[in-house]
Amino acid sequence: MIEPLLVSVYIFVLAIFVGFETITKVPPLLHTPLMSGTNAISGITLVGALISAGAGHSSLSTVLGLLAVIIATINVVGGFMVTDRMLEMFKKGKKKD
């Protein structure tokens, strides 16, 4: 029963490589937006939270899951929106005319 773990490890390693390679040279002005954007992406844990919250096992799990859903959603929604706001401002500065 070790197989699934190994597969996960493969996927993990490959994804790490993809992550390393995609971000190479980021100008400092983009640091904050990029951080904010990846932060929103890491809100993917929401998917986990949904599964937990929806599993409907013990009530404790459900409550924990609910809490997790709420804060993960804040992370995702807020994160993406804030990132977009920053980038929008950036765009404007660029093409004022």
């Binding site: 949904l50 409907g56 997790a68 993960a72 992370n75 804030v82």
Partner: protein
């Protein structure tokens, strides 16, 4: 059905990767963010259609409450408060991972797989550290906590001890998954460690800390993925973990500091009183910032000085100007009458570089235009832009007319250090908020900017 879900997850993963890629470049960043958003939407919808989910009540409630709060915060927040917002969100992400780990632990039945239990412990630990760490960072940036490093004696030793404690208990829990006290102890240790980790770090280094924590929250999500055997969590978590790591490194390089220096710089050395006092602060920027500033400007004024001659940077400078002009930016040179070391020094230099005379303006002709210009690029000039000449009767420069560089929207200054010019007078311009100092030989700095603009 399962295939469709798996394929949808795969699609979502691909979109996440593309989104992340696009986020890294100024021109595509916004599209990148939108790609990531749709990826997230797909992932959520797919998850909701999964037959693992039995009860939607809490889910819907959670989603609505969370979205509402997220939207409100995102709308209300001031642009200047962005960094603390990112810190806050990041903390929430970490917290969510920790909570999911707890919930899943609670759901455990029978003899769980060892990899699941390991993942759970990791997820819980990293998530919790990220949670309190980010909250402290938020507090520092928001001014709720003293921004200066807070350090107590032997803190480093204490931190390490705590970490070892975590390892021990972790192993115990892994061996005996039923040991819920152990798990809660781990939670407690993680929460404390998060606080201790960030408290000693000064406000100025917070961005790096947040980036590190961001990378951590990615890893926490990946760990959650291992717990749930969910590939998309693993992929996204790994992506964020890796890219966050790279970003941290980039930021450290930009600040000219190493990550260990930041994290362990003051921790455990309570004796040193890190001088983050309110002295005049100079922000050292990189050529990348300068290139972006210049590229997004509409009017640029260039002020050359004696340093241009010393660096023999006139050719590079003119190349830069040509590039900017080709991007339809309005660029002019402002020539101060006594810039350099002999009358007409700048003219000789710029003539060498074949700069068209039409681009040169003398003090009288251009001084009123500074207030309407986006960027002033000062290359090796100092005295001629020193505002103390205007007001400070004790300055050796007092009474000399100067170029009003300080009136521009932003100022980029290329010189090697903070040392004064011919007159020996210190220059307040360097310390303005809108000033970006780029330290280094002018020729090298300009060449670096050119390279970036051409890329």
């Amino acid at each position: 059905m399962n295939i469709i879900i798996a394929l949808a997850y795969l699609l979502s993963s691909i979109l996440f990767i593309l989104g992340l890629k696009n986020l890294g470049s100024p021109k595509t960043a916004r599209r990148g963010n939108q790609l990531a958003m749709s990826a997230m939407l797909i992932a959520i919808i797919v998850t909701l259609t999964k037959n693992e989910i039995l009860d939607f009540t809490y889910i819907i409630a959670g989603l609505i409450i969370g979205s509402a709060i997220g939207v409100i915060i995102a709308r209300k927040i001031q642009m200047t408060a962005m960094p603390q917002m990112v810190a806050l969100f990041n903390g929430l992400g970490g917290g969510a991972s920790a909570l999911v780990a707890l919930a899943e632990y609670n759901r455990l039945t029978g003899e769980p797989r060892i990899d699941v239990i390991i993942s759970m412990v990791v997820s819980l630990f990293i998530g919790a550290v990220t949670f309190t760490g980010s909250l402290v960072a938020f507090g520092k940036l928001q001014g709720l906590i003293r921004s200066a490093p807070v350090v107590f004696k032997a803190q480093r030793f204490f931190n390490i001890s705590l970490f070892i404690l975590f390892l021990i208990i972790g192993i115990i829990v892994i061996i005996n998954p039923a040991n819920s006290t152990g798990l809660l102890t781990i939670l407690a240790i993680a929460l404390i460690l998060g606080v201790l980790f960030v408290m000693p770090i000064g406000g100025a280094d917070m961005p790096v800390v947040i980036s590190t924590l961001n990378s951590c929250s990615g890893l926490a999500a990946a760990a959650t993925g291992f717990v749930l055997s969910n590939n998309i969590l693993i992929i996204c978590g790994a992506l964020v973990g890796a890219s966050g790591f790279i970003l941290t490194r980039i930021m450290c390089k930009a600040m000219n500091r190493s990550i260990t220096n930041i994290v362990f710089g003051s921790a455990g050395t309570a004796t040193t009183n890190n001088s983050n006092n309110d002295k005049r602060k100079v922000v050292s920027y990189t050529e990348e910032d300068a290139s972006i500033m210049l590229e997004s400007a509409q009017t640029v004024i260039i002020i050359p000085g004696y340093g241009l001659a010393v660096a023999q940077a006139q050719f590079a400078l003119q190349e830069l100007v040509t590039i900017l002009i080709n991007k339809s930016i309005n660029v002019r040179y402002a020539i101060h009458p006594v810039a350099g070391r002999m009358p007409g020094h700048m003219n000789v230099l710029l003539a060498e570089a074949n700069v068209s005379y039409d681009l040169l303006f003398d003090l009288g002709d251009i001084n009123d235009d500074f207030q309407n210009s986006d960027v002033v690029l000062v290359v090796g000039a100092n005295d001629v832009v020193n505002p103390s000449a205007r007001s400070d009767k004790d300055s050796p420069l007092y009474g000399m007319p100067i170029l009003n560089a300080d009136q521009a929207r932003s100022v980029i200054i290329c010189k090697r250090s903070l040392s004064p010019g011919y007159s020996g007078a210190d220059n307040d311009l360097f310390y303005l908020d809108k000033t970006q100092m780029i330290f280094g030989d002018a020729k090298e700095s300009i060449n670096a900017i050119i390279k970036l603009l051409k890329a």
